[in-house]
């Protein structure tokens, strides 16, 4: 077993054993923080697919988190008010059933990513960064204008979604749902980046013109990756809405996109598992530093700079001794 595998196993064991440890020590807050880390990790890993593998520097990833969260919020709102969401082509009165709501949240975010990605991916470089930011801000202001769904104040959920055999109101059940979602997505993403599809994305990220010169229509591959990343960010948003039992346009603000980007850089760009570590370190530092000062970013900034300078492959590369990029 090499250093990378040891790091991964240690990480997995810590994550699996966190709920019993939290119960033993009587600290339910730990479970709540753990769930939050897992949800942000899911969103950060999805962003790593774009940033670290496809070199698609999206500053609008929070839009998909927000769309996923609002799907949960809006369906809950209509379900509680017994007011139909749709009357045509069929009557749909909203739902709190996780089996329906969570996949629907991911699909809605994926659909949003399809539309946004189809337009944004016609640009490159700085234009791509700015247009993804513009779309996210557009959605942010759009949801602020939706007074029916709380506008700027957002929507509160009376309860978390229901899932058969699970009580998501219980911290440990919800934690393991988030953990399962993260593990499944990591498994899928690992298979994806090591498949021929992933090789093309990595190649296009490095030299898009060369990939095209070798007979590959890279736009389709990039758009598919954008949709996958958007859908999984939407799932993260749906879980976040469930965790906080609240959704607001703030989830789509560019600052969340920036935070996700910091998590990816901190953990290790193009490492897939790195963003999980990045999310954990970012949120733990935030929690710890915020106890002493509200200006915790003053300390986070230099930490990020030092990590980027001295740990070229992020904290994950530093811990696992992994010098490979995109491997």
């Amino acid at each position: 077993m090499n250093r990378k595998q040891i790091t991964l196993w240690c990480g997995a064991i810590i994550l699996i054993l966190l709920p019993p440890f939290a119960l033993q020590t009587g600290s339910p807050y730990l479970l709540s923080l753990g769930s939050r880390i897992l949800i942000y990790a899911l969103a950060a890993v999805s962003l790593d697919l774009l940033l670290g593998y496809g070199a698609m520097i999206s500053l609008g990833h929070a839009a998909f988190v927000g769309v996923g969260a609002y799907t949960v919020g809006i369906l809950h709102f209509h379900s509680s008010a017994a007011e139909p969401v749709l009357t045509w082509p069929f009557l749909f009165t909203g739902s709190d059933n996780g089996l329906l709501v969570l996949p629907l949240a991911a699909l809605t975010a994926a659909f949003a990513a399809l539309i946004i990605g189809a337009l944004c991916l016609r640009t490159i470089g700085m234009h791509f960064i700015m247009i993804t930011l513009a779309f996210a801000q557009m959605l942010y202001y759009f949801f602020i204008s939706l007074e029916k769904y709380g506008g700027d104040d957002g929507l509160s959920l009376a309860a978390r979604n229901s899932l058969p055999g699970l009580d998501l109101g219980q911290g440990s059940h919800f934690y393991y749902l988030c953990l399962a979602a993260l593990f499944l997505f990591l498994f899928f993403a690992h298979k994806l980046v090591n498949s021929r599809f992933g090789l093309i994305i990595r190649g296009a990220g490095n030299n898009d013109r060369r990939i095209k010169g070798l007979g590959i229509h890279s736009y389709r591959y990039k758009l598919t990756t954008f949709v996958i990343a958007g859908g999984s960010a939407g799932l993260a948003g749906a879980l976040l809405a469930n965790q906080t039992e609240f959704v607001s346009p703030g989830l789509m603000h560019w600052t969340l996109s920036g935070e996700l980007m910091v998590m990816v850089l901190l953990g290790g760009l193009g490492t897939l598992f790195g963003p999980v570590l990045g999310a954990a370190v970012f949120l733990l530092l935030e929690e710890t530093l915020a106890m002493y000062t509200e200006h915790w970013m003053i300390y986070m900034g230099p930490f990020l700079v030092l990590t980027v300078i001295f740990a070229k492959h992020g904290l994950f590369g530093f811990l696992s001794g992994d010098k490979e990029k995109n491997g």
């Binding site: 990595r202 990220g205 060369r210 010169g213 007979g215 229509h217 990029k325």
Partner: protein
């Protein structure tokens, strides 16, 4: 097979190619010669749709290709080994080879990983190395192998042996001879005139964006002044 008719290519307001015409037949090896900055690479880029032409026609196997996107041209069977190799440094040798491998035109005896490694045995030992861990010669072998993996009928090499050690050059010429024997059409840009006169049947010389001379190897051999005038070779 490839017919380029009076193409003109511009970079913004400055014109780089003027009435460039050339032809490559089936299983023929042709070279494009000239000093640096004369338009050889621009010609190749124009053929492959990487730099759009502003006038003229390019047809491949009878189909016009001057308005097609580069990926469509590559799928029709034109493989490029670009200047500077441009291998993917973040992929291993094996990944570089298989990432874009295709046989879209259902070639009866397609190039696969094994066939490429037979041509360049040196790559066999380097399969798990990343592209940026290879020597210049190995990178060039990989770039040729990668182009072969899309199973082209026409292979274009821009600066085939530039900056390579004599022994590596030999290996590249040996490989190109093998490919020629296999029936591949090849367009080569390079400065090693002697080696090119052995491997190629016909040559085009470019000067300031124009084709100023074309002829066979024996015709070029008989006119040493061409080499000194256009290629900077002392005879």
């Amino acid at each position: 097979m490839l017919v380029v008719e009076k193409i003109e290519t511009c970079y913004g307001v400055s014109q780089a190619l003027f009435d460039v015409s050339l032809q490559i037949g089936e299983a023929e090896v042709v070279t494009l010669l000239g000093r640096n900055g004369m338009g050889k690479s621009t010609t190749v880029r124009s053929i492959l749709g990487l730099t759009p032409v502003c006038a003229g026609k390019i047809s491949y196997l009878g189909h016009p290709i001057e308005a097609l996107q580069s990926y469509r041209i590559a799928r029709m069977g034109i493989g490029l080994v670009p200047e500077g190799r441009q291998i993917f440094p973040n992929l291993t040798v094996r990944e570089n080879l298989i990432a874009t491998a295709a046989n879209t035109r259902k070639t009866p005896q397609p190039f696969g990983l094994e066939a490429v490694l037979n041509i360049f045995p040196r790559l066999s030992d380097r399969l798990s190395h990343y592209g940026n861990e290879l020597s210049g010669g190995e990178q060039q072998m990989l770039a040729i192998g990668r182009a072969l993996m899309i199973n082209p009928d026409l292979l274009i090499l821009d600066e085939a042996t530039e900056g390579l050690a004599p022994l590596v050059r030999k290996e590249i010429w040996r490989a190109l001879t093998l490919l020629k024997e296999r029936g591949l059409s090849i367009l080569i840009i390079d400065k090693n005139i002697e080696a090119l006169m052995v491997i190629a049947e016909r040559h085009y010389i470019m000067e300031k964006g124009h084709i100023v001379w074309s002829g066979t190897s024996s015709e070029l051999h008989a006119r040493p002044e061409l080499k000194s005038r256009y290629l900077g070779v002392d005879c």
